[in-house]
């Protein structure tokens, strides 16, 4: 037989549901008798649907003496006449299903009313008969003594004497609710009939009341017994065999670990309430401390995939405090029930809004938690409008008053005279229906009802809330609750401020680096997550839901770019760069393409748009040279130089496979589809660039000209080779892009453009053409962008001769150091060479220590060579000239004073940042960071000691970003590369003249970095020798630095840029060493916190 489906298409519908709990009696009176009924409920189904609820949970509506609000059922297969007929229920069911609302009803099967025919028959039936055995009987009250009494306020025993039966009957709740006997198979059969009756009618879910108490056994608490689980499994099997899409929800007011078995292996209940969480939410709010929540969630076990927790803030019962400790209960009573009338049994009989003093922000905060915690939220009718309660009504009736629909008579609940109402409506000025009602809030877009409707709709957009797992973060501020929810590709960060005051919080989101949080309510993008702590400031009781979106990275998947709409290229470059396709290029393709390029310097800024500002065709329009202006959401725009090309067919497929990063976007031209991409990846475009220089060509752009200019050295570099030369692309692409032509030339494209010559080309041309210094790759030409006649041209690209080499100085040095550490790893550092660990300037002023030479070996010769070449470079750049861009200028004591002031200011900001970040640094570097911070005052005082009244030196053009990576090892010599200066600095600064000791300091810091980086690498493989190798590393660093300095000073001796006095030399050098080390601290904190100790040690060494 086919299974009978429920009304929901998805069998796991309950995981995404929003359940709305209501009592038919309290919701809407359809016939004017003062009591809510099914016809009235049908009238209000649109309201429930519009609120966003997806499932209605109806409290018991069966015939009953109503001594326990309907939980004392006297007929399971009918509707209480007060609420309508079984036909009315059927109509309601259809109406709900028409609105895509599922329906859950109560299955109160632990007990019946004492008026149920089963009980009446049982008490009269003979002992031992199956009729008698429908219930649990005893001749004494002594059985099951270990079972606690639940309703302590009203019941003294779980047994009550029945004078007709002349036996005691068992009841876990009120004495008028005798417990059914599940050891009697006929009882089980009858309950199955009841269940099938309602499921056949179309009911979607059953809330099984008091589920832990079904079976009793001597010597136990009579709760959660294995026999009870057997009964539940049997009910579940019956449902699964005949029905689909139906759900059992367990009411088990127990600890999570005790509730867990009610899910079984997914073969008992689909859902169960999470009772202990609810009071702890209130506790956390009042204590302004997240611990009660995180503590109970951490105690909550995993449940089967198909199961779900039911979460609630309030329901029809008291706020139960059974699942808290005695101390916690006392606190809750004090905090939330000042008036003893508010207390009932082990709980507090109040609604949500009165519990939080009607504070809108607190209500919103609690609902935000309810809607974002792992489980299905259950809303209690009236709480969505902030209804109040009436503590002067008995039992739990104070929270079961009529729904407040409008400000008319009886709150719009009923047309009966007020005296006929089943319960008085709430009348007081704060909570009364005239102040709080649905109609008023529906017309108020700022009402709590509107807010709830929006929040529910938002939650329903994200399955992660109902289905995802939760992970709490642990920020230092415990007033802030922060957690991640994750399901499939959905990831959400929720942050809530439990305090009545604004709170700051730093969240460790380093594992989510690169993700962009998008605030979910307003779809507002927040700053991208970086490795350092993510700082948020939260208003009182505020919360944030942030959807974590991953930036689509084309390099990750070659499929990425296929997700873009193709650019229509049928109109050629004119259409792409100026026509209708331009809009897409500027607003979609380039903003996505640029941040993925290593050479793009604006990665930390958000691109607003881009603009093609100028362009020119290259090689017969097969490719173009383009100037792109990038506009950011804040700050000044940047201009980038690009070459663009189009590729179709198989070549496009090949490019897609081999270099997806180069693809700007898909294009179509007529029937052909292809790719728009970086022209560097098109050999013909690369050849055309070379040809521009070789042939001294001028191109007209839309607004200016592009000039190819060969240098005097071009013919020599070309030699006997014939053009075109084979093209290769450089692999070490950074802020520029390199194209290699045969083994003769390298063309460097300067991507980020600023007005004016690029210093790399400017210095290269000067050294090649105006001086005799020849330890640089020969400058062979450039491509320049000439705007207006009076403006200086900008350098788009520089052509140099290729120099055969053995790698850069950094790589070569690390290899040397690896061998050095391998040699000395087994060797204890000799105490006799402590002299070798002194300040390098001191060491450089005396002959090289034989011991240092013995141990460090030939690297000292290389360091000396490098020192000599550096000095020769500076001498060449300081030579007299008429060229104002290169003519040396004096650097006076006053100039130095100004530099000192700037450095002092910079150092203060670096130390402030270090202090802020110190707790987030890796453990191994915290100590040295703390040491530096503890010496902050002394370090800053050190600046004063650097002053010199008689300082005389020169500013000249220098390298500007000098380190081992900027030199090439060429046999036993070095060639110096890349005169571009620090790329992050403005062009004017990079073209300015500086003290040459800045370069010297740069190289000394590079020696220090090489020693420590190599030590880190080596000891990563040999951790046992860290302590032993540290002095060896220091010996190497200081010895190499000393040799470099000695050679440098020997060659530069007598020049005007070298301070005459040793003291002034030391002060200047210290200044630039500190300057560089501070720059490195900043860099490492943001990029490699584990390496921050290297510059920190450098700073400390300057004090010793």
């Amino acid at each position: 037989m086919a299974k009978r489906p429920g009304s929901a298409a998805d069998p796991l519908w309950y995981k995404d549901a929003i359940i709305y709990e209501l009592h038919v009696r309290a919701f809407k009176d359809g016939n004017g008798d003062g009591i809510g009924d099914f016809p009235g409920l049908i009238q209000k189904l649109d309201y429930v649907r519009d609120l966003g609820a997806t499932c209605l949970w109806l409290l018991p509506f069966f015939p009953s003496p109503l001594k326990d609000d309907g939980y004392d059922i006297s007929d399971y297969l009918n509707v209480h006449p007060m609420y309508g007929t079984i036909e009315d229920f059927s109509n309601f069911l259809d109406a709900a299903h028409d609105r895509d609302l599922q329906v859950m009803i109560e299955l109160v099967v632990n007990h019946t009313s004492d008026q149920h025919p089963w009980f009446q028959a049982a008490r009269r039936a003979p002992r031992g008969s199956s009729e008698r055995d429908f219930y649990v009987w005893s001749d004494t009250e002594e059985k099951y003594k270990d079972a606690r009494i639940i309703f302590t306020d009203t019941e003294r025993s779980n047994w009550t004497w029945d004078p007709v039966a002349e036996q005691y009957y068992w009841h876990r709740f009120f004495s008028h609710q005798p417990d059914l006997n599940y050891d009697n198979p006929i009882v089980i059969e009858e309950i199955l009939k009841v269940m099938r009756y309602w499921l056949d009618m179309g009911v979607d879910a059953l809330r099984v009341d008091a589920i832990p108490y079904l079976v009793e056994r001597e010597g136990t608490s009579c709760e959660n017994l294995p026999e009870t689980h057997n009964v539940i499994k049997m009910l579940r099997r019956a449902i699964d065999s005949d029905y689909s899409g139906r759900v059992i929800l367990a009411e088990a007011n127990q600890w999570p670990t005790d509730v867990r078995p009610y899910f079984g292996d997914g073969d008992e209940c689909h859902m169960a309430f999470h009772f202990p969480l609810m009071p702890r939410i209130y506790m956390a709010l009042r204590q302004e401390d997240r611990l009660p929540i995180t503590d109970i969630i951490s105690q909550t076990p995993e449940i089967p995939e198909t199961c779900q927790w039911g979460l609630f803030l309030r329901n029809h019962d008291e706020l139960t405090l059974e699942m808290v400790t005695n101390d916690e209960r006392d606190y809750m009573y004090i905090a939330y029930s000042a008036d003893p009338r508010m207390r009932l049994n082990l709980g507090i009989r109040r609604r949500l809004a009165p519990l939080v003093d009607n504070n809108r922000r607190r209500i919103e905060l609690l609902n935000s938690l309810l809607l974002s915690f792992p489980g299905t939220p259950i809303l209690y009718y009236g709480d969505e409008i902030g209804m109040g309660d009436n503590i002067y009504l008995g039992d739990r009736n104070g929270v079961r008053t009529p729904m407040q629909w409008n400000a008319d008579r009886n709150a719009g609940f009923s047309t009966a005279i007020p005296a006929r109402l089943y319960s008085p409506v709430i009348l007081d000025p704060v909570w009364g229906y005239e102040a709080i009602n649905v109609e008023a809030q529906q017309s108020d877009p700022s009402s709590l009802l509107s807010w709830m409707r929006n929040m529910i709709a938002l939650r329903k957009l994200f399955r992660v809330f109902g289905r995802g797992r939760i992970e709490f973060l642990d920020p230092a501020n415990r007033k802030v609750l922060a957690y991640l929810r994750q399901y499939d590709s959905e990831q959400i960060l929720c942050v809530a401020n439990l305090s009545r005051f604004a709170q700051p919080v730093d969240l460790d989101l380093s594992k989510l680096e690169g993700m962009t949080p998008v605030e979910m309510l307003g779809y507002v993008e927040f700053p991208t997550i970086e490795r350092q702590p993510y700082r948020l400031t939260l208003a009182p009781y505020s919360f944030l839901w942030l959807e974590l979106q991953r930036r689509v990275d084309l390099s990750e998947s070659s499929a990425g770019f296929t997700e873009q709409t193709p650019i229509n290229a049928i109109g050629g470059w004119g259409d792409i760069l100026e026509g209708t396709a331009r809009l897409r290029l500027e607003t979609v393709n380039l903003p996505e393409y640029l941040p993925k390029q290593r050479w793009f310097a604006g990665k930390s800024r958000r691109i607003k748009s881009t603009r093609v500002v100028d362009w020119a065709s290259l090689n017969a329009s097969q490719s173009v040279l383009v100037m792109i202006e990038v506009l950011f959401e804040s700050g000044t725009p940047d201009v980038y130089f690009m070459s663009l090309a189009m590729t179709f067919g198989d070549a496009a497929e090949e490019l897609r496979r081999t270099a997806p990063i180069a693809i700007v976007g898909p294009i179509v031209s007529g029937q052909a589809s292809g790719l728009l991409h970086d022209g560097v990846f098109d050999d013909k475009a690369c050849a055309a660039l070379f040809s521009l220089i070789e042939k001294n060509t001028e191109l007209d752009t839309r607004h200016a000209r592009i000039l190819g200019v060969p240098s005097k050295a071009f013919p020599d570099v070309l030699g006997v080779e014939e053009t075109p030369l084979p093209v290769r692309r450089g692999s070490a692409e950074q802020s520029n892009t390199s194209i290699l032509y045969g083994d003769r030339f390298i063309l460097k494209l300067f991507r980020r453009q600023e007005p004016g010559l690029n210093p790399d080309a400017e210095v290269g041309r000067y050294l090649t053409e105006k001086t005799t210094f020849n330890r640089i790759p020969p400058f062979a030409g450039s491509i320049e962008y000439a705007g207006t006649a009076d403006a200086e041209p900008a350098t788009l690209a520089m052509l140099q001769g290729l120099v055969a080499n053995e790698g850069d100085g950094w790589k070569w040095t690390l290899e040397e150091l690896d061998r050095y550490f391998e040699t000395y790893a087994p060797v204890a550092f000799p105490e006799t060479i402590t002299d070798g660990l002194k300040n390098p300037v001191d060491l450089s002023e005396r002959p090289t220590s034989p011991l240092a030479r013995d141990h460090v070996g030939i690297y000292l010769d290389s360091a000396a060579t490098l020192g000599r070449r550096t000095a020769e470079l500076h001498l060449a750049l300081a030579s007299p000239t008429d060229d104002p861009a290169f003519a040396p200028e004096p650097l006076t004591a006053q100039d130095f004073e100004a530099l000192l002031r700037d450095l002092h200011q910079h150092a203060v900001s670096v130390f402030d940042l270090l202090k802020e970040r110190v707790s987030y640094l890796p453990d191994e570097v915290v100590e040295i960071a703390a040491t530096v911070l503890s010496k902050r005052r002394r370090i800053l005082d050190h600046f004063n000691r650097l002053r010199s009244d008689n300082l005389r030196t020169q500013r000249i053009r220098i390298h500007g970003d000098y380190h081992l990576g900027q030199v090439l090892k060429v046999r036993t010599d070095f060639f110096i590369l890349d005169f571009e200066g620090e790329p992050a600095r403005p062009l004017a600064y990079r073209r300015a003249k500086h003290c040459p000791l800045k370069d010297v300091a740069g190289m000394l810091r590079s020696f220090s970095y090489a020693a420590h980086a190599s030590l880190i690498n080596y000891t990563a493989r040999h951790s046992e020798v860290v302590a032993r190798l540290e002095p060896w590393a220091l010996l190497w660093e200081r010895s190499a630095a000393a040799e470099f300095l000695r050679a440098y000073r020997e060659i530069a001796q007598g020049s005007e840029f070298l301070p005459q006095s040793s003291a002034d030399f030391r002060k200047l050098l210290d200044f630039f060493l500190l300057d560089k080390a501070l720059y490195e601290v900043l860099y490492e904190m943001n990029s490699r916190p584990a390496w921050v100790h290297i510059p920190l040690m450098g700073i400390l060494s300057l004090q010793t």
Partner: protein
């Protein structure tokens, strides 16, 4: 699965056929010998069992066909009153029933795919229908949609609202997401049959739901270049019913699929099969000044409704637009995209009666049409392609506007 969309009298005929590989529903008049030419062309599909349901308003009670004897009996043509002859009936419901009937018959016959032909193409033989079928049977596409040759003033409701809206929301560049000519795989028409109850109960319309249903389930969608569609003449003086008929089901579907389209980022092309077909130039010449007057009238009389739907910034822009002389009358793309988004949102929120809401959009739509036509007055049909591409990009660029308004529909906004 329940297939109660098949008229009772047709059940017997379907049962006699027993099984088919492909079902083709012909709602359009293919002209003299059209069906015969189609059947000839379908022979190229080899031994596939193809059943052609030919709309025949005069068919009356479905004739009982003789049982197909063998391979030679296919394609088997079954006359069937797919479209009800009641001219007073709701055309949307009528179309709903026709598509639903084709899907249901396909399901009953266990067809791998089905195809519905509802248009007449200019200067085309029925052979173009085979082009809709090939991707279904040969490359397992789930939805094959036509890419009609475009004339600049034809199909503007599709070009200005339906296509860019669906493209922006569901992230695929589909030019005619509502067909009406289309091919659907078994899993797609099953899905549509599964979600469709009665159109009155939940507003589902198979044409509005097909593309979203396919895209939200990551099904394979492609387009086929076909000729220019012969559109029924547009009655510009009574455009309201058109908006209501088409946009109502689309907005409903947007509401239903919010969980899907709010996840979609970016926009991708779909495979396009065949070559573009060139067509003669558009010679229609609507009265633009009357359209602008309608807008100006609406701007005066519908402020109360528009102010419930549109934010102050849009109302302000519209006010400025209403003051422009005809020759300068241009509606910015961003404004139009946001207007459409705001109406979709108001439809979801039931801000006012949905019928009134959609009708109140009429003057705005006319304003867009006038603006578009004025801008392209001197341009050819090719220029319209690029112009509409710019509009589609504006929809994409403003999708975040819709998402934010959808998620927090506070009327107190800029």
């Amino acid at each position: 699965m329940e297939v109660d969309s098949i008229p009772q009298q047709a059940q017997e005929a379907i049962e006699k056929i027993e099984r088919a590989d492909l079902v083709i529903g012909i709602l359009a008049d293919l002209g003299p010998n059209g069906i015969a030419m189609l059947c000839d062309d379908l022979q190229t599909l080899g031994s596939a069992r193809i059943v052609v349901l030919q709309n025949d308003k005069d068919a009356g009670p479905t004739p009982t066909p003789s049982e197909p004897a063998g391979k030679s009996s296919f394609p088997f043509v079954l006359p069937w009153p797919l479209l009800r002859p009641d001219p007073a009936g709701d055309p949307v419901l009528n179309a709903f029933a026709a598509y639903q009937a084709v899907f249901a018959a396909s399901e009953k016959l266990g067809a791998r795919a089905c195809c519905v032909v509802a248009s007449k193409l200019e200067n085309a033989t029925p052979q173009w229908i085979s082009q809709l079928i090939h991707p279904l049977l040969q490359s397992n596409h789930d939805l094959v949609l036509p890419r009609y040759a475009r004339r600049k003033r034809a199909g503007l409701l599709n070009s200005s609202v339906i296509s860019p809206l669906m493209r922006s929301l569901y992230g695929k560049q589909i030019h005619n997401p509502m067909g009406p000519d289309l091919g659907a795989s078994q899993r797609l028409f099953r899905k549509i049959l599964g979600t469709g109850r009665t159109p009155r109960a939940n507003g589902v319309h198979p044409l509005a739901s097909l593309a979203p249903a396919a895209l939200c389930d990551n099904m394979q969608v492609c387009e086929v270049h076909v000729g220019a569609r012969s559109y029924p003449p547009t009655d510009w003086s009574n455009i309201s019913s058109l908006l209501t008929q088409f946009l109502g089901p689309i907005f409903l579907d947007i509401e239903r699929n919010a969980i899907c389209w709010q996840r979609v980022r970016g926009c991708a092309p779909v495979p396009v099969i065949g070559e573009p077909v060139s067509v003669s130039h558009d010679t229609s010449n609507p009265d633009l000044s009357r359209m602008v007057e309608s807008f100006q009238l609406g701007n005066r009389d519908l402020q109360e409704i528009w102010s419930l739907v549109l934010p102050p910034a849009s109302l302000f822009e519209l006010r400025k637009l209403s003051r422009l002389p005809l020759e300068q009358f241009r509606m910015p793309d961003e404004l139009w995209a946001r207007i459409v988004y705001d109406f979709a949102l108001a439809h979801r929120l039931r801000t006012i009666s949905r019928d009134h809401l959609l009708k109140s959009m009429t003057p705005l739509y006319l304003a867009w049409v006038a603006s578009y036509a004025l801008e392209l007055n001197a341009e050819g049909d090719a220029a319209s392609e690029q112009r509409l591409e710019r509009l589609a990009i504006a929809y994409e660029a403003n999708k975040s506007y819709l998402v934010s308004r959808w998620r927090w529909p506070d009327r107190f906004n800029p």
